[in-house]
Point group: C4
Chain length 179, copies 4
């Protein structure tokens, strides 16, 4: 496969995307599971990722979270970022993905999913635009159409947001609202 | 543009600075948004940045914070560092910047602002000395007169402090009070 | 010693492994000891390591923790990952290792131990497959059959899990349950 | 100055050391000041540094902390590591250093001090063996006899401990108690 074909193919995939769903640990964070003495968790999100998600909404795209774990940290972050749909305790993730399709009334090729490990593979296999982060396990990367340059918690989400909005020629409009 | 001209121009900009204002997330921190199960935040500042800000005060310059988010972490850090003026929930940031000019009775070219992302652009456009940190988004960097070598939370603030005080020939005096 | 011999020898060691025991600080975490004002601890584990340990169980291997320190963080993480046996306050660690052999009814050459520092040496000397993480002290590395490429808290545990399961030809079966 | 002379000089300095005093932020931690919404702090120490300090005690050397800040985190860590003398809120640090000399009945050339920034300079100037960590400010490094390869919170303290104990031919004995 030549790079130019790959690029063309990627562009076609990205042009169709209406919903972007993210795994949490290792994607919206660097994969660190921080526990206090009582087992309560602290999650480390990223401020530029957050702005990216806010910008997706401004641009009219829908956002979702699909995570196999569950914590108040995710609920708080999702509320702050006004994420449209949050699936916690989602195992297997394909069930949540099925519900997501109904909820947003979209087909799989209209969804981008960003993951990092084995439980993400069933969704990566279905999503129209499957993304693995730089720090994803090698097995997860096998099922991705695109691997981010930045790692989870360090800008991977923002990179995907900009890639989609620039490919869809929506970034410039967003940028103008700030400038 | 030749480096020597750039330097000359930068020096002229820096010589006028009387007030230095900082964004928080990604500038005074590495951009990590750390949330516990109840959505309470923990921010990660930097000790050498803190000394830099204390030194700015000793040298007679004024300091401010302009952040679009809001948390007790920032209030605590600002109190500890005796920052002169704190704007939280500042959106758009240009409004806070306008108030800052009145508050310190200065013109825009007497203010340095350090930011990292899109919401900082309106202020970067106005500030006499606009600084983007190494980890700033590429769009924010377009509006900066200077991009730091160090990243936010890892010495970017200190780098700006030393650059300004050394350019204004005030660093040596500060250093002598320690040595 | 030639590499091919080394590999053969390593393979023979790994083929026998039935139990995998981990040190905590510096192995399941990056070695950071995070204390709040009351001395309560927060430990930073890794999500991909966690999946690796879950996968070990699925594949029929037993898991254990041997740490010289003690905290609720470890108890919470061990519960979450259903680790079979947890030794906290284990000093010297060789005593815990002796108990572990009885508890799982295995011989030392059926146990893999992963450590990073001096208190781990007595167990590294006994374990059939002794592993030091990339960030281990140079003295601890002297007693290891294998040094991980990844560091503690950043995938070292996962690397050991995949190395063992792939060598024992069990990884493919595990992977299929996800794919 | 030739390296061999430098080494000889360093060795002579190190041979005399009986007390080792550490700054906290940037030396025993990576310099991150972590604040929650109420301004309560979390400090991030290092497990291998901790073992190094325990080993210093075993080897008969005395240990101290001299920090300009104050927090329960430091008190908790010092208690855990049985540090002989803790100076918090120490400003200027030279006063604490004077008290330390009396307390341990030693002369300045029998003390090693490890620091990272301007407030450490007065003590670095007096200490028989003055050490700056890799992440120290350039001004602090000017006053150091030795700059560590590792940075604060990432093994700098352990590096100093091993350098001193190996130079004093005490490391082997310590190591044997573990092996």
């Amino acid at each position: 496969m030549k790079l130019i074909h790959m690029t063309k193919n990627l562009k076609q995939r990205i042009m169709k995307i209406k919903v972007i769903a993210f795994d949490v640990d290792g994607v919206m964070t660097n994969g660190s599971i921080n526990l206090d003495e009582k087992g309560q968790e602290i999650k480390m999100f990223n401020v530029q990722d957050g702005l990216g998600i806010a910008v997706l909404r401004k641009a009219g795209l829908k956002t979702a979270i699909i995570t196999a774990r569950s914590s108040g940290c995710v609920a708080a972050r999702a509320l702050d970022l006004k994420i449209d749909k949050v699936y916690q305790d989602a195992y297997p993730k394909s069930a949540a993905f099925g519900d997501l399709l109904k909820n947003f009334n979209v087909s799989p090729d209209e969804v981008c999913f960003v993951g990092d490990d084995l439980p993400d593979i069933p969704v990566l296999k279905q999503a129209g635009f499957a993304v693995a982060v730089a720090n994803a396990s090698s097995d997860a990367k096998q099922y991705a159409h695109y691997v981010t340059k930045k790692s989870g918690g360090n800008g991977a989400v923002r990179e995907v947001v900009e890639l989609i909005l620039k490919t869809q020629s929506r970034w410039k409009t967003v940028l103008e609202t700030f400038v």
